[in-house]
Symmetry: C2
Subunit: 585 residues, 2 copies
């Protein structure tokens, strides 16, 4: 329960130090997309808002919760009578935190610079003093970081060994004119070490910093207790917090650092920073032959789990189970494979109009019942496997659809096909290709308010840059980066109609060479998601012969991939056969 | 005739001043794409290379001509026995000028900083001293700038008056936090003043600088003798060279300046520069209702000229005229309209394999004969009218084509149609749409090595930013800028086969609103080029019904637009009717 006295106590401390405001961001020292609960606890303690994204600014006589449109309704409810004011980010007249502090003369302001991204810090610091302050000692029952051990993955799962990756990073930083690099992003660190951890839910990384110099010397900053199961004989290991003093002492080195991913405290200690992406950023995005082989293998396992889910859904639809129960069932099927060790994100199972909310997810306490009277069940899910990370969406049509739904479902599949079958030259970014999926919607005045797809990690984050499919160019997102063979990108167009339904169909695409001519090098996509797409209610009048052929070829591949994994299971084989049966006009 | 002693004399002067190298760029103080002959004379004098693009670096014992692949053959021939070394830019191992100077320790280097773009200067100056030096006094018979008068255009040709444009610029620079702006780009200056000039061939601008402050005060720096025909009562006029002292004295003003377009001399005099595009850059690109009405009107005039050319070509093909004679004939037809006062670029008329060279242009002295045995005649041309600037390409098939040519011609038209009929959301840049034209080629392993299209000025440059169609994102080109209603962009895909033929079909597209839904605002294109496209040899098997309808609708519009302008001319009317006849399977 939230207690207003917490803010009073905080303000007493602020007054002692002369801080006119205190900023509590939701974020970890590594600019991670998802964070451990430790890094959200302080905001939860000082305000009653429980949404996963938001920032709190506490002043000597007020408190302001900044969040975006996804959370307005929830925040209004939770903040009522709390004395905390809701700041609706992105609405007209709402300032950014930096503007708010400058406009209200809240300097000196304060915050934990170790948790504050350098980019955010620069915006606030340009107009006044920002004190490095941590009042989180006031927080009662603050969660600790996970004590789970780091684990080494089988080297057979990787094209490049740890040593080879270090050598490549070292040589590339030297080419860029740097002496060393400090890597702050957790997925890059896990990628280079070929280790994984359990510090953040669904993303198998571990809290640490990594330093590599041009002489292949590697220093890891981590809770040493976590390393009892791994061999770190070639690595200098330091305690996590020692990174601060270590960096401070490197006064003569040009250190390569990604300003968009480092926290303000560390950045401002670097005597000679050279701003730029870590070489591991692109290395990690381009999967090698061993990774690709494994990705295809575990997508077969994932497809079998999805097939079992098809079976369960078709059998139990009349039983009025909840979205949450369906999600749990699917998780169970994934975990039946010994290679699956976690989900890659919380399963979204959304019925009817719930599916129109892009960020909807059922919980044990709050979940709708799925009935025979509902129109759709959208299921977006994925697993972490020893061999890759999956992300797949299928939308199940629960009863005979009306003409509008039938059309929208067909158009969604048409979008998938149209982009998947692209041929494009070396040099194309996802922004050059996005329209292949989206224009089908645009012609009818529809648009899904999200990217068409994102990069996927390898036994890592389900979201990974720089590849992706979007139509607007945003420099900070690096989405001008070209698509390269070995990159994995989701394609997930959809139709979302408030108070009606949401439709999304999502596969993962591998970029592969198409051909080379005297005019240049051309690429195409290979679908590595192997799971039937419901065809029963397609409006074939909206599909060309080529599109129908694509569906049939895709389903033939799915049949070949999955049938060999369910030999002997006549029930599943029959279902697979039915679901992958060729479509005919 | 080139004389090696010129270099000897230059080196004597360099030695006196202690310059170890001297850089002669081809460019004017305004970063113009095309320049007056004055600004190319020094390079012509000190090296025998006559190509329009190239830079010369003279050292104490050598001379190095830097140019790109378009000119290698010509440069090798012209530089033979000249003691000038060819530096093949863009080939492996060839350094940039900045690298060349650094690698060979040619500092202190020298050059005329008033002619040197700031961006280039920064690259050279970061490794050593660059002296501001002008040895062009050694050049004999150096051309002067044109003495032609500046002329005011009828205010009826513009949506915004000079005063309104100044007010808009002044208010936008204030919004950006600047006190004033120095505008260096000649087309922006002509745009704001609603004046035109005759200092550069085919681009009706006049050499000048423009300064505007947030209080709407306007200062123009120009050869005052040019202003006798215009009313400049609201403008403070200074001599062109006085801009240097004027800027030097503005020590307390934050001056908005486009670093990519200013010369190094001026830039380094600005005490408080704020880097950014001039507001006029985007204002100029978005044509208003008056401009659009005029653009459509003069494209009808341009279409009539092209129709006359069709007639001439069909009548004279057997007479073995040269490309140059055809180009002259087309110019004559354009100038028959009293509204046409100049060409917008030198007409390209290229027969057969000449058409495969993208930068080919016939001259009086060097021009191929067009015969009945040739496959194609590609004609790319345009005019400057009181009411707009045109750019159009048609490729004429001179005899029954073989299957390959027929296919490539049909594919080129298909590319035009596919992009022209796009529907796209507000926020799309040309880079998001380019693939609609290009993928048709890519599927067959072909690619035209140029953009699909470029922005077009209004009674100004035939190339104008920021709009354009390209697939690679290049930040310096601003090609992430979104397409807006009122922008004019060419679409000009093609097929180029060395030693065979080149095909290009080019129209101009106006971005217009399509519709608005709850999902957002959508745009489409309207073709404003009105000229028949030869359909006789199309391979209809490669075209969809919708594409054939597009061709027929386009030709119906062309017929309506042009027929009203050639009433009474039965010969042209009959030709127009034939060329715009509906295509049927």
């Amino acid at each position: 329960m939230f207690d207003k006295n917490r803010l009073t106590k905080l303000r007493e401390e602020m007054k002692k130090n002369g801080d006119k405001s205190y900023i509590i961001l939701t974020g970890d020292p590594h600019s991670s997309e998802y964070v451990a609960s430790k890094f959200i606890a302080e905001r939860f303690y000082f305000s009653p808002f429980t949404g996963s994204d938001g920032s709190l600014v506490v002043t000597l006589d007020g408190a302001y919760l900044f969040t975006d449109g996804r959370y307005f309704i929830q925040a209004e409810k939770e903040l009522a009578d709390s004395s905390v004011t809701l700041m609706k980010m992105g609405t007209k007249g709402c300032p950014t935190i930096a503007e708010f502090i400058a406009q209200n003369d809240l300097y000196p302001t304060a915050g934990n610079l170790f948790y504050m991204p350098e980019g955010f810090y620069e915006g606030v610091a340009k107009n006044g003093i920002v004190n490095d302050r941590d009042y989180s000692y006031l927080v009662e029952n603050k969660p600790e970081l996970s004590k789970d051990k780091v684990f080494a993955l089988d080297e057979k799962l990787f094209t490049l060994s740890f040593k080879e990756k270090v050598a490549k990073v070292a040589s590339e930083i030297e080419n860029k004119g740097a002496d060393s690099i400090i890597i702050t992003t957790l997925d890059d660190i896990a990628y280079i070490l070929n280790w994984r951890g359990n510090d953040i839910e669904c993303t198998p990384v571990f809290y640490s910093f990594l330093y590599i110099n041009k002489n292949n010397e590697v220093h890891l900053f981590i809770d040493k207790d976590k390393l009892s199961d791994v061999d770190y004989s070639n690595i200098h290991v330091h305690e996590y917090d020692d990174v601060v003093d270590f960096i401070k002492e490197k006064t003569n080195e040009i250190i390569l650092v990604d300003k968009t991913k480092i926290n303000a405290k560390l950045y401002n200690l670097i005597a000679k920073p050279l701003n730029g992406k870590s070489p591991s950023y692109l290395m990690k995005a381009v999967k090698g032959p061993v990774e690709i082989e494994n990705i295809k293998r575990i997508h077969e396992l994932d497809g079998v789990a999805m097939l079992k889910f098809y079976d369960f859904l078709y059998t139990n639809l009349g039983k009025n189970l909840s979205e949450y129960e369906y999600a749990e069932e699917l998780e169970k099927y994934r975990r039946q494979s010994k290679d699956c060790f976690e989900l890659s994100f919380e399963t979204i199972a959304a019925v009817g109009e719930n599916a129109a909310q892009m960020h909807y997810g059922p919980t044990k306490d709050k979940s709708s019942i799925v009935t025979l009277n509902d129109n759709v069940l959208l299921v977006d899910s994925g697993g972490q496997y020893f061999g890759g990370t999956t992300d797949i969406t299928r939308t199940f049509l629960l009863k005979e659809p009306d003409a509008e739904l039938r059309r929208d479902y067909t158009l969604t599949l048409k979008s998938v096909i149209n982009l998947t079958t692209s041929i494009f030259m070396d040099g194309c970014a996802g922004t050059a290709i996005d329209i292949k999926a989206r224009e089908i919607m645009w012609r009818l005045g529809m648009d899904y308010k999200c990217g068409t797809g994102h990069g996927v990690g390898y036994i890592l984050g389900v979201h990974e840059g720089p590849n992706g499919f979007r139509y607007k160019h945003v420099p900070e997102r690096d989405d001008g980066s070209k698509l390269e063979p070995g990159m994995i990108t989701t394609i997930e167009p959809g139709v979302y109609k408030a108070s009606k339904y949401g439709i999304r169909i999502e596969n993962e695409l591998l970029t592969v060479p198409a051909f080379e001519t005297e005019d240049g090098v051309f690429y195409k996509f290979e679908t590595v998601t192997y799971c039937p797409i419901e065809t029963k209610y397609l409006d074939l009048g909206l599909l060309s012969d080529d599109e129908i052929s694509w569906i049939n070829n895709y389903h033939q591949m799915v049949y070949e991939k999955l049938s060999k994994r369910i030999q002997g299971n006549e029930r599943l084989l029959a279902l697979l056969k039915m679901l992958t049966k060729a479509v005919e006009r």
